[in-house]
Amino acid sequence: MAITLAESEALSAIGLEETVDISSAAELKALLVKALGAGQEVRVSLEGAAYLDVTAIQLLWAAEREARSAGVGFALEGPIPERVSAALLDAGFDRFPVPECAR
């Protein structure tokens, strides 16, 4: 598991890699809070992710909801790995609960 946050002047970029589950949930929450606190657009990349459990999904969903109500952009960047999207469908999420960036 690796969670990274890269902040530039206009963008906070979060990268999720490998398995992101309950063991990294607290870390992910802290990064999301920090990224949203910066008040600039947040992009999340799942490109290197292998598995997201329900704690990660609900954190991303809650962050996106918060960003939307604050008028801050929050979107997925890059492709969602097939394994991740298939697992999400199995778990009852019709689509990833965070919008994707327009490409």
Binding site: D21, I22, S23, S24, A25, A26, L28, K29, L32, V33, L36, D53, V54, T55, I57, Q58, L59, W61, A62, A63, R65, E66, A87, D90, A91, G92, F93, P97
Partner: protein
């Protein structure tokens, strides 16, 4: 630091290992009592728990593999399959693979053998009648087959995990996956309960699921998917509107599963049988933490000894009072911490049932294992190191001791041989026995082989005990041929090395034609003991209190009355004594009145003559290290309150050593060891009573 997921996996591994031990015991019992339904239920529940928990904690290969075995025992339980030795042997072999899969999950290399797993599964499927075309990797419960027998109906399921569900290590998504095995599942996740990010507990699941399941499974079979989490979630399972119940059809499908479930619940089945027997009164603690705790108590005991020393030196009543209170508390703490480490030897003994079963099959012998004193407790460290020596002793007995069936019959012996494992306390030691009713040891053959190998001279006069001791020499074997089981002369050497490292002794007794008995005498603990501090000249020594009987005075007049012989008359009983001053070549003048510490050993009562008895002390045993590993009469060292080191004597070995050195008796014996060390004398006053001795 390990993540929560790692901790859960580790907990599962520990739990699964315990279940595997129980499963092995149950299978071996089942081998003897094939009709015992309770045992069948016990095996089924164990497999079910390993499978269910394994799937939840991400051990999917393990869960899949176990599922096939569970199916077989479900068939046995429902009368579709009969227990036979093939199924038991296959299941035992499968348990070995499951054990390996558990270790793999720990990050090690691939340990399970895929070819062996495949072969086991093929054979199990042949027994259960499951065809090869059926999915081998199916993860459904064994109830699937029964569940799909009836009409398909739609069920509305609401599942909302409770606050602590994920903290228990459960992954709700895996439950959905398991549910999907029962039929067509449509799932809708609800995020309505997810709070604002700032208030969100990242380790709690707020998502709930509304599902519709099209299945022939009964309500109970569906509920069974949630059996481990029922107490930690909101769960409702209702027939969907328009999905009619046909009681007759339903009964056929649900009957088997409901019966199984009821039975399981009635017997306290499912996971609860294993992991929640007495939640309120027991706690699982990693052994490393316990070791650390005992180490800290050891440090505390050493510091407390310094405080006592200081209090005695200052002669300050206030410090003395605090010191005594600390001493009392430390003593209680030490006793408690040592008790925590004490474990019954049962689990170690029980696991040899499997070894005996397998070896008996391989060697074509009928052997039963009997166990006595399984509740005898000893230090975990000792128990951990006992498995290897016991295994070698049992293998040796099975291979060389116990005769083939025809020879037993010719000798008029019972066709079924017996290996007997026993444990009992004896003072500060525990005696572990491995005996058999086999052919016994041919002492003359041992002697001849030893002469042949140059271990003893051809004309050497050896006692029986000395002859048998040769069996434990490296590479020694009287076996005419090396087998897969033993005969290389390695095993007995391992036994001796391990017992030596535990500061134990080995005693062998054998009667030709009747059997052999090997007794290991091991210390109860390797950490902290109650000792008696004594001094000789400037050196201090500790004698284990559990061995000491009493202290008597020895005057010069007593010595003269005994005509210089090293014996004392203790209330009419003649007791030989060993002068530690002479034994350790301590060159200081001896006092007018010396003290004889009477100790009880396996070889009888002996006296150890010292200058002064300084008092009781809690003794933290420190290893002397490799440099002193050949000094057998010393079992370790301890740090005294004044910072100096005192050697801890091993009365058994000291007495044996003295006997060996002075074969003519103890009198006049001065062939002692070089000085092995000692400590400056402490200022403790002796606390034990002294009594006068009568000269012999």
């Amino acid at each position: 630091m390990a993540s929560n997921a790692d901790q859960f996996k580790q907990s599962f591994r520990e739990e699964a290992r315990e279940i595997l031990v129980d499963l092995e015991a149950a299978l071996l019992e089942l081998n003897e009592n094939a009709g015992d339904r309770e045992l069948v239920g016990r095996v089924f529940r164990g497999l079910h728990t390993i499978k269910g928990s394994g799937a939840m904690f991400g051990f999917e290969d393990l869960a899949t593999f176990t599922h096939n075995l569970e199916t077989a025992f479900d068939d046995v339980r429902n009368g579709r399959l009969e227990i036979n030795s093939e199924l038991i042997d296959l299941t035992l072999a499968a348990l070995d693979q499951i054990k390996a899969m558990l270790e793999e999950g720990g990050g090690g290399a691939a340990l399970a053998d895929p070819a062996a797993c495949a072969e086991i599964l093929t054979k199990v499927r042949r027994l259960t009648g499951v065809t090869a075309s059926e999915p081998a990797g199916e993860k459904a419960s064994p109830k699937t087959a029964a569940a799909t027998a009836g009409p398909v109906r739609e069920w509305s399921i609401h599942f909302a995990p409770g606050p602590d569900l994920m903290l228990n290590g459960t992954n709700p998504l895996l439950l959905l996956r398991e549910l999907r095995q029962l039929g067509g599942l449509s799932v809708k996740a609800s995020m309505a309960a997810v709070p604002p990010l700032a208030e969100l507990d990242p380790e709690r699941c707020y998502v709930a699921w509304e599902m519709v399941l099209a299945t022939a499974a009964s309500r109970d079979a569906i509920r069974d998917v949630f059996i481990f989490v029922e107490d930690h979630c909101e769960l409702s399972i209702e027939l969907a509107a328009g999905s009619e119940v046909d009681p007759a059809a339903n009964a056929a499908a649900a009957d088997a599963t409901a019966r199984a479930l009821d039975e399981q619940r009635a017997q306290g089945g499912g996971r609860r049988t294993y992991d929640k027997p007495d939640n309120a009164t027991s706690l699982r603690v990693p052994a490393a933490k316990l070791d650390q705790f005992v180490d800290l108590v050891g440090e505390l005991v050493t510091v407390q000894a310094r405080l006592s020393e200081l209090a005695a030196r200052r002669d300050d009543p206030e410090i003395a009072e605090v010191s005594e209170e600390i001493e009392r508390l430390t003593s209680s703490l030490r006793e408690n911490s040592m008790n925590i480490r004490m474990l019954p030897i049962r689990a170690t003994f029980e696991k040899f049932r499997r070894l005996v079963h397998d070896l008996a099959r391989d060697l074509g012998k009928d052997v039963e294992l009997t166990i006595e004193g399984a509740d005898t407790e000893l230090d975990k460290t000792v128990i951990d190191q006992l498995s290897d020596p016991l295994m070698h002793l049992i293998r040796n007995s099975m291979d060389h001791g116990i005769e083939p069936r025809d020879r037993r019959a010719a000798r008029g012996k019972r066709p079924t041989a017996t290996i007997h494992l026993s444990a009992r306390h004896s003072g500060a030691s525990v005696l572990i026995g491995v005996s058999d009713d086999g052919a016994g040891i041919d002492a003359e053959a041992v002697r001849s082989r030893a002469v042949e190998k140059g271990l003893v001279a051809g004309d050497a006069q050896l006692t029986e005990s000395e002859t048998f001791a040769l069996l434990f020499e490296p590479g020694f074997s009287t076996a005419k041929q090396v087998t897969d089981v033993s005969g290389r002369g390695v095993g007995m050497d391992v036994v001796r090395q391990r017992v030596d490292s535990l500061r134990g002794t080995i005693d062998v007794a054998s009667v030709p034609g009747t059997g052999t008995s090997v007794t290991l005498r091991l210390p109860l603990t390797l950490a902290i003991i109650d000792g008696l501090l004594v001094s000789v000249g400037d050196a201090c020594f500790v004698l284990p209190l559990a061995n000491t009987l009493e202290c008597i005075e020895l005057t010069r007049a007593d010595v003269e009355r005994a005509n210089g012989k090293h014996v004392a008359n203790v209330r009419g009983v003649i007791v030989p004594y060993i002068r530690l001053r002479e034994h350790f070549n301590i060159r200081t003048p001896r006092p007018e009145i010396e003290q004889i510490m009477l100790v009880e050993t396996e070889g009888g009562r002996y006296g150890f003559v010292v200058d002064r008895v300084l008092g009781d002390c809690q003794t933290v045993i420190k290893n002397l290290g490799r440099f002193y590993r050949h000094v057998q009469v010393v079992s370790g060292a301890t740090i005294l309150g004044n910072g100096t080191v005192a050697l801890i004597l091993d009365p058994e070995r000291l007495a044996a050593d003295a006997v060996r050195l002075g074969r003519q008796g103890f009198h006049g014996h001065t062939a002692g060891h070089p000085v092995v060390g000692g400590a400056s004398r402490m200022g403790h006053g002796g606390k034990r009573e002294s009594s006068q001795t009568n000269a012999a």
